[in-house]
């Protein structure tokens, strides 16, 4: 463990969360959804816009891929007429929650006191009825002489434009090295759907059986449709506050116990040294060097499932099971159920609750630690949770505890 005085993220807490309406296709102004989430989070913390002096987001404004970014820092800054001591938005960070980790460091250093963090997507309506192919690079058949450059130079000429393909190859390698099966992988999707049934805001809430899973069409082996998250419209916001403001807040804060941001391998989808662990390995390992808590202390885990296999990699990286053992660990589903060893993706994950892109996991971890989960509340009054997001070479994690 590193010198505890260096773990300055402990000076940060999460004081409020908010979420807009969430739907498969809402066809609403994405800035409106963003502001709905932001104002809800500010109110949840018991603050006003006058108290907010920091803003952080992922990935910042982007025109492509369509619907990937509903708003940037500048949009929210101006729309809420904020006065900022610090702000940051960008895609180069340790996964989507890297933006929240930035905010933790900003309040710990005194650059800001209450930072509004948000993630906003409208991929559902941007893709419209034509589906994902309509927004893929080259999805127009290459009209206009489009040429691949940057990292896509090494995937697009091989007709591999989607992370579904890149992550499927990582899953296939895991199947090969450790004997993992589709029936085991299915448990991530089945567990998510079971939890989504109890989440009124989830996109897909109808029951899903193993037969349904094995019968649905393949996307990119070993992934079928139900291994891929559901594009949607919606925004999520969290407020990161300096810990010594706790008395000003409406609720006891969620303490940021430790964060993990490491990326030790090459920042690449095919050259990373161990494709079966991805960068989850490094972010989680670093997180555990910054706390006395152990994996066995964690009572709920909200971990990225842009594709089902990523959650398996996070389970191993976090130490909830051994390396290569996520298949047997999730088999049958009992260990990851709401009453299991480590309740997992209790809101339905991105697979069933919608691709809110990383922030949905942090939102749900806070909801659960505050005991506000309603029908889907994890039993036993949980006090320690983990939120983790990102796949491939992107990974960031936060260990959270409820303050008394």
């Amino acid at each position: 463990m590193i010198d505890p005085s260096l773990v300055i993220e402990k000076r940060a807490l999460i004081s409020g969360v908010g979420q807009s309406d969430v739907g498969r296709r809402l066809y609403r102004d994405p800035l409106e959804l963003t502001l709905d989430a932001c104002l809800a989070a500010i109110a949840d913390a018991g603050l006003t816009t006058a108290d907010i002096d920091g803003v952080a987001t992922y990935p910042g404004p982007m025109a492509q891929p369509a619907g990937f970014s509903g708003a940037g820092v500048v949009d929210v800054h101006d729309a809420l007429r904020l006065e900022l001591g610090w702000w940051s938005g960008g895609i180069e960070s340790p996964g989507q929650l890297g933006s929240v980790i930035n905010a933790c460091l900003a309040v710990a250093s005194g650059l800001a006191t209450h930072v509004l963090c948000f993630r906003s997507v409208y991929e559902g309506s941007a893709q419209g009825e034509k589906g994902r192919a309509s927004v893929m690079p080259g999805g127009d058949g290459g009209s206009g002489g489009f040429r691949a450059s940057g990292f896509m130079e090494w995937t697009l000429p091989f007709s591999a434009p989607s992370a579904a393909i890149w992550i499927a190859m990582m899953a296939q390698r895991h199947f090969y090295e450790f004997g993992t099966t589709r029936e085991q992988l299915a448990q991530i999707a089945l567990n998510a759907r079971k939890n989504a049934a109890l989440n009124p805001k989830a996109i897909y809430r109808d029951p899903m059986s193993m037969e349904d899973y094995l019968g649905i069409r393949m996307i990119s082996s070993p992934f079928c449709l139900y291994d891929c998250d559901a594009p949607c419209d919606g925004a999520t916001a969290v407020i990161v506050s300096r810990a010594d403001t706790a008395a000003d807040l409406r609720k006891p804060g969620i303490q940021v116990e430790a964060v993990g941001t490491a990326l030790r391998g090459r920042p690449s989808w095919d050259q990373f040294d161990d494709l079966t662990t991805m960068a989850c390995r490094d972010a989680a390992a670093q997180m555990w060097t910054r706390t006395d808590l152990k994996p066995s202390d964690v009572q709920l885990a909200e971990m990225y499932d842009g594709f089902s296999f990523i959650t398996m990699a996070w389970l191993e990286a976090m130490g909830f099971c051994g390396k290569g053992e996520s298949g047997p660990f999730v088999e049958g589903g009992a260990a990851i159920a709401r009453d299991g060893v480590i309740p997992l993706n209790t809101h339905g994950g991105q697979l069933s609750a919608g691709r809110l892109h990383g922030y949905g996991f942090l939102h749900e971890a806070c909801v659960q630690l505050w005991g506000e989960g309603g029908e889907r509340q994890v039993p036993g009054d949980p006090e320690v949770g983990v939120a983790a997001a990102g796949g491939g070479p992107l990974a960031g994690a936060l260990l959270l505890t409820r303050r008394r």
């Binding site: 893929m136 000429p157 091989f158 591999a160 296939q172 390698r173 095919d270």
Partner: protein, 145 residues
């Protein structure tokens, strides 16, 4: 090593934007060669190519042909029509090159039925020539040649 593909009808492909840095990779197939950037100082194979050797920081890098052989590291059978491309389903693969540990290439497998693909199988390069400008390096089982 295999020469240019003789497939009568080529699938649609998004071609790479050629630059001084990558041109030797994408045109090596003209000579039937799979080429990677290599450092003249330390011998490191560097992919994707960069102006400075990541291993010794030398700027003396040039492209060299490799054997064209590879081992299948992992793969996926893609069924989803993301964009115009090869006939579905097709195989996307990451292959490991014997010249250097950890040197890999994302590519497609050809000349093998998707249900016959096995991680660890031995492969060799073949090229798909587009407009006498770009040669896409694809891989097929050694036994199929």
């Amino acid at each position: 090593m295999a020469g240019a593909s003789t497939e009568p009808e080529l699938p649609f492909r998004i071609l790479p934007r050629l630059t001084d840095l990558n041109r030797d990779f994408w045109t090596g197939g003209r000579a039937g060669e799979l080429r990677f950037q290599r450092c003249r100082q330390c011998g490191y194979y560097n992919h994707p190519p960069t102006p400075v050797c990541p291993s010794c920081h030398s700027k003396e890098l040039r492209f060299e042909p490799v054997s064209g052989r590879a081992t299948l590291w992992t793969f996926t059978v893609n069924y989803q029509p993301w964009m115009p491309g090869p006939e579905l389903p097709f195989v996307v693969a990451i292959v490991a090159l014997p010249e250097q540990e950890g040197l890999r290439l994302t590519t497609n497998l050809v000349g093998v039925e998707p249900d016959q693909v096995k991680i660890g199988m031995e492969l060799e390069v073949t090229f798909e020539n587009h407009d006498d400008e770009v040669w896409i390096p694809l891989f097929r089982p050694v036994a199929a040649s």
